[in-house]
Every structure is written in C-alpha cells, then in structure tokens.
Symmetry: C2
Subunit: 475 residues, 2 copies
C-alpha cells in the first residue's frame, strides 16, 4: 500500500469557515459539505484507496473554478480535480484535507466546426458525448478508453487516455488542439486552438498527461476526424501466447496498421466466453481480434493480407467477419472483458504498462512464470498493436496478504516492462498506484527535473499532491 | 530589428582560456577558435542577424556534449546549439560571448527496427537521411520541411518542424517516440523510447519545440511509417484567392484529408512558372496543388471527389496527373518556389503563421490590402490544408527603410493571424525573429509561466538565451 498523507489539523479545524467561503463562490447545489454527500467522492476507479475529502465544489464556469483556486491558493488549501472519477491509478483520489473540484456540471459543447475539423467542449463532456455530437455528419473523436461512456474529456486530457483504436489514431495528446485551464494561483490561461502549432514552449503538450498537477482544465478543443466508410474485424486463435505475439509482430512489421489489434490469453478467453457467448475458441492459448477499416474493397484486401500472415503461425482458427453484425459479435467478448474477469474473481488489479511490440512473446512468457511463483491467476487482455499490456491480476480482497502479493506481482510486471525498454504506464497514468515505481523508470536527477516543472507551476504543491512522484525520502 | 545582447566583457576577456579548456574536451578538428573559421557560424537562415560566436565545438558523442555543458555551466558561459543552421527564425543565431555546440558530426543512424516501426538516430542526421535509410523496406519518416536535404533531426525536434505532407501525418511532435538530451547542468537524460506513452509529465513533448532552450538534444527515436502504394497530385486554378480559399475549406470540410494541399497566389505562380516551366496557368489568381495517396483505385476515387468539389468553385482549369511523372511535373514549380521568388526579388522575408483554415479567404484579402498600403509585393505560397501561411514579402536589402517596412508588414500579418484565432508561428519557431511578437499571442502571466519553465531547467538562462521570450522590459 502507498502511504497517503496525514491531513493537516490546522486545515481540518477551519472546515466550517472554508465551506462557508466556497459556498459563496459556488452557491446552492454546487457546494457539498455534508459528510454523507461527500462519501461518494471518497475514491475513484482505484477503489483500494479511500479518503473522504474536506469539501466538494461543482462549478459551472471557468470563472468559478478560478475563484475557487484563488481562495484555496491564498489559504494554503490542497485541491484535487475530478471528472467522472474513473481513474484506474487513483488520479482523482481525494485527500482528507483537500477540496475536490468536480467538473461534471461543465458539460456543454461550445462549438462544432466541420471545416476546421474541431470541437470545443467543456471539461465535463463525456468522451463518447463528443462523438455523439458529430457522428450525424460522419465525424468522430478518435481516442476511445473502455470507460468512454462515463469518462470525461478533462480527465482524458489529464491522463492522456488511449483506447483500443489508438493504434491508428493516437492517444489524447495526438487529438488535442487547445485547452483553457486555471493555474494553481487562479489565473485563466488559453493554449493552442483551431490552428496548427503553438508559439513558445509546448505547454499544451505538457498539460496533457500532467495528471491534474499543473492546472485545472476547464475547456478542450479536440480534433474530430471523418469516420471511415466501414470497419470489419477478424479473429485469429493460436496454440501459444508466444506464437500469437510473434503474429502481432509480423502484422505490424509488414507495415499494416489495423485500426485495432487486441490480444486475449486463455484465462481471458474462457472468462469472456462464459460471460458473452461470443463463440471464442476455448482450445486456444491466445486469440487476436484484428480490425481494419476503409472501403469494402480496402477491408477485403487488408483482411486477406492479414489472414495470409496469420496462416504462417499455424493458427487453430481464423474467422473473418463478413458483415457488420459478425464484427460486433467478435468484439462483444472483448468489450466485456473486465466485467467477465470480475465474475470469476471478484477482485482483480488491472495493470497498465507498455513495451516495444517486439518484446511481446518474451514478456508474456515471464508474466506466466511470475503467475506460478506468486500463486495468483492472471488474465491478459491488451492493445497488442501498440504494446499496451493490461494484465488482470486476480486476488482476494478479504485477505490482506493476497492483496499485498497482487500489488507486488503488479509491480514486478511493470518493472519488467521498463527493463525491456518499455514504460510503467500506457494510458492509466501514474496517480497514486504507480507513484513509488517511478524510480524504476527515472534516475533521481530526472525526477528532480520533473519536480522542478511542478514547482514552476505550483510552488506550494497544493494541486493534486502526493501523486505521480515518489516522496523525496523514497526517491 | 530585434536588439541582440551586448557581449559580456568578462567572458570575452577569458576567450583564450575557454578555448583551451574546450579543446581538451573536444580535441582536434572538433574545436574551432580562429576568427576566420568561426565566420561561417555567424548566422543561420535568418541572415539579417549576425554575430561571430566566441568559439564553436563539434562533439562526436553525448558524453562530450555533457562535458562541454558542465564546463560552460560552471563558468557561466552561454551556449547556442546548432544543427545545419537552416533556421528561418534565427533559432541557431550565435551570440558573441557564447559557445556554439554544432551537432553535425553526430550523424550516425544507431538502430532501425521495422517491427516496432522506429529508428534511433543521432541529432546530426539529416531529415531526408532517415527516409533514405529505411525506404528500401518501404518505410519513410513523415515530416518533410522544405530544407529536408540539409536540416538535421535535432533541429527539427527543437523547432517542431512541419512540411507539405504534415496535413496527413502531423509535425515532428507527432512522429517522435523518444530522445536523449543533455541538461544545462551537463546531466544526460533519456525520455520515452520504443513504447507508447511515458510516465510522469510529457517532457518529451515539452522538449519538442523548446528551441534549444531547455537542453541539447543528442539522440532521437522517431516513428517510421509504411509508405503508401503510390501518390498522385492534381492542380486546380481559380479566378480569385478567396475562391481558392473557399475551395480549400470545402475539401477539408468534406472530411477528405489529402496528403498535401498547397496554395500559390498569382505572383507566386508567375515566379515559379518563369523558373520551372511547370505549365502553371498564368491567367489564374490562385492555384491549388492537391495530392492524395493510396492504391491506384483509392487515388482515383479521392481525386474524382476533389475534382467534383473544385468544380463548384468555377475553376479556370483542373488537371489531374495520370502518371507519377505528371505528378512530379505539377510539384516541380512549388518545390522551387522560394528560389523562384528569389529571382524576381533578391531579398524577401519568409513569414510563417497559422490560421484556422476557415479564415483563409479573409486573411488573404487583408494581406493583399496591406501589400498595397506598405507598397511592398508579396507572394503567397503555403500549406493551405492546415492553415500554415508562408507569405514572402519582397524588399530591397540595400535600403534600410525597405527592410524596416518589410519587418513591420510581416509583424502585421502575424498579428492578423493571432486576431483571427491563429498563431504567430507554424513550423519555423519564434527564435529571434518573432521574440517581441509573443506579447500579441500571450498575456503577461502566460509568458511569465513559460519563463518559469525555462528557469526550472536553466536558472541562469545560459542556454540559447535572448530568444523566444521578449525581454522583460518589453513584455
């Protein structure tokens, strides 16, 4: 377990005064101070960690956010920003002496411009909400995290979220044009916009993925893309995880970029099949879902080439969807994978690391060995095309020893990712979860340099502190 | 003219001692101290500004760069990094009391990995050199600045360079996976690499486009892409610049992303045709070169759709290349545009700004009006698809008044770009040229925040100072 900071008694003592002051800035329903109504904000997607915050405000404008930030800055109060609270790394985990700024009421779509291929939305618009707003004209917003129905674009920006279709279209950073944010001092800054490039340093890029530590994002300008004519998936099952890994390598090495390339191992196939009855091959050790898009002729040509490549790896079965319905059937199991694993083991840790795709076979073999050593089952489901692993480590939350072992197993997997030239996060961020693992990725002087950037924005470290960086003693 | 800093006499007085010390770190040919041999380093692509540097070192390894940086840091000596010296904004302009670190001898390709679609190269490898190294296997490196034969990848990273084909493939930042750089204190830092995402802040993104002010880039890991089956261009000529601008809007608004979409106005068409004899329509007010790529069937389908869109704008002529040779003929004039304008006016300023593409017609009209007001000819050639303008303002360098007017005209164009929601740079960076215009784009507190980032890396402002940010008095 990561140690969370003790709340500062001098702040807790001022609770009533702080709530009264914030209530003047964000009046009515937007101010939450009662214990019972604060409870839903005590955790996020990383449910192992909980702290009921001091107060929650739900502003409706950038100006309100700025006023809250000015007050908190002047009074030395910590602030934690929150979107839908779907972070899997504890990015939105509150602190007991912090004010949570929830952006969910800032959910307006401000502008849609098809000529400039962009949309301007408030931070609390959901990821899927953007696509819903533009799909009538044949456009879409590309990054598609599994939580896209709920998760909000402000959180996507802060975590630089990805998704199954990011192999072709890139992650959030690759689909962002501009943003408006509020500094820790309460000043409003606008970056980028509906034009190429930006003068000065790329602090649009710096803010993206900064995990709510440099400012509060309130508005986002995103690139919208023209949807392809159509898409179709195929399913390829193999006798071994290493063989499937080698097939992934061969597909990518051939220069084909499928729109998605998903990998599931045997435990995951079985869990998903029991749940979704998608017709997955239960005799396979590993399975790939490969989706291509374009005109029907293009889909046919690409699927044929991929089929030929897969055939070199002695597949158990190859199934190419002939219709959109068959395609949906192939995806059905994958989309419910996390829920399906939840049925066989009520508790699991979803890890998130990336590796160079060429290391896939080796890494999968090592994860299997570690699973035996730790005596914990693991189901692997991940975005194989861009080397983004999501091992699901199953454990028993009622047994503290089992949780400890699962955390250690997870840490070992992420260290392995770093060792083979990869990274300890793919799309979930560092948050609380991987804070102390940062030393596996970065040398002390590299962490110090990143801390100096944090300090340049937030000298008092009031904004979403105790995350991302190991405490100095641990560094 | 932008004021350059006076050299500090205490540094000039130590010249012999500094050269001796640097000569021990970078011995032999890599150390340049003689006035005559320093002369070629006095300017870069922004030739209006010149200062002969104190000394030039040409290291051959990251370790040598680090040793030079440590020495300069300890002795309070300014440092200016330099690739091929092709910067059009004065990014590599030396200072009289600064040491220039030239990266041109660090020109090795360290690794090519087709399975992971990446190449690791030293900073002094030319942009085109990367494509040359991988094209045998059908791959290429996408960003293609006009200077790609000469310019080096380290400089591309520092300026976040673009090019004609960035409409489809993005600029340097979108094609970078990792880099190795040396901090102002002489420490070596590695960022990113052959994997998706990065833990902690996106300082890979922050370094990209930081104009050599945060560190010296020595190695770069770039994404290489599979080349399309083929590409073909078409040429569309119109009766007015506004009409052509509206056609650009209609093409992009339809959701088609050509691989390039270039715009030339009448003065530019005439200059290019006289130079290249490409068969350009001399009766047109504006001309578009539109290139698409893919299979032959895909090229045909896309060109047909674009042709139909252009026909709605009463074109003077439409010419679709039927072969690769015809395509090259269409491009021939555009590729020589800068040289062609140089024939009709020996001196010109090449401006670089971006606008939302929807503002194209209005901005072109205003530039025409300003041209009349200033009494200076302007030729417009630019990447219209992504709204990246390159007005070429013609003037007489022998007449200081003419140069002053050209600079003011250029500044007015860039301010106009900002006014319509665009940006005062597209791909050339800020450098010396646009330093004092940053106040048109950013509020004082925004500039201060960016300065704080600079200070977090380089507290003494020794690395490439007096660029990017207006001096505090001017802010």
């Amino acid at each position: 377990m990561i140690a969370l900071p003790e709340p500062r008694p001098e702040i807790l003592a001022r609770r009533a005064e702080i709530i009264a002051a914030l209530g003047k800035i964000v009046p009515g329903e937007g101010m939450i101070g009662e214990e019972l109504r604060l409870k839903p904000y005590e955790t996020d997607g990383l449910t192992a960690y909980r702290q009921v915050p001091l107060a929650v405000v739900l502003p409706t404008s950038t100006e309100q956010v700025a006023a809250v930030m000015r007050y908190c800055h002047e009074n030395g109060i910590r602030v934690v920003p929150r979107g839908a609270g779907t972070s899997l790394s504890g990015g939105a985990l509150p602190l007991a002496d912090a004010v949570v700024i929830g952006l969910m009421r800032m959910n307006r779509i401000l502008e849609i411009d098809f000529e400039d291929r962009l949309a301007v939305v408030e931070a609390g618009v959901t990821n899927l909400g953007i696509t819903k707003a533009v799909e009538g004209e044949g456009f879409f917003y590309a990054p598609d995290p599994s939580s896209q129905l709920a998760c909000m674009i402000g959180g996507n920006v802060n975590m630089n979220s990805g998704g199954a279709h990011c192999l072709k279209y890139g992650v959030t950073a690759n689909n962002m044009l501009g943003l408006k944010f509020v500094t820790p001092q309460g000043e409003i800054v606008e970056l980028g916009g509906g034009h190429l490039d930006a003068a000065g340093y790329d602090w649009l890029g710096l803010l993206t993925g900064s995990e709510g530590q440099l400012g509060i994002v309130t508005e986002v300008t995103v690139r919208i893309l023209r949807a392809a004519e159509g898409a179709r998936a195929m399913l390829a099952a193999f006798k071994g995880t290493e063989i499937a890994g080698a097939a992934v390598d061969a597909i990518i090495g051939s220069g084909i970029i499928p729109v998605a390339l998903e990998f599931m191992d045997r435990p995951c196939i079985h869990a998903c099949e029991a749940f979704a009855h998608a017709g997955y091959p239960l005799d396979a050790e590993a399975m790939l879902i490969i989706e291509v898009e374009g005109s029907v002729a293009e889909q046919d040509a690409l699927l044929e080439r991929i089929k030929q490549i897969c055939q070199r790896f002695d597949p158990i079965s190859l199934k190419v969807a002939q219709t959109a319905e068959e395609s949906i059937a192939i995806w059905k199991g994958r989309k419910g994978a996390f829920g399906a694993v939840g049925r066989i083991s009520p508790d699991y840790l979803c890890m998130d690391g990336t590796i160079p795709t060429g290391e896939l076979p080796f890494v999968l073999k090592r994860i299997g060995e570690m699973s035996t050593q730790y005596g914990l089952q693991v189901a692997n489901v991940f975005h194989a095309g861009d080397g983004n692993l999501h091992p699901l480590i199953m454990f028993d939350a009622n047994d503290p020893e089992s949780f400890r072992k699962a955390e250690n197993f997870g840490a070992d997997i992420l260290k392995l990712c770093v060792e083979v030239g990869g990274c300890l996060t793919g799309e979930h961020g560092v948050g609380v979860e991987k804070r102390d693992l940062m030393t596996a990725q970065f040398a002390p002087h590299e962490l110090d340099q990143q801390r100096a950037i944090k300090s340049a924005f937030d000298p008092a470290w009031l904004l979403n502190p105790h995350k991302v960086f190991p405490l100095r003693d641990a560094a």
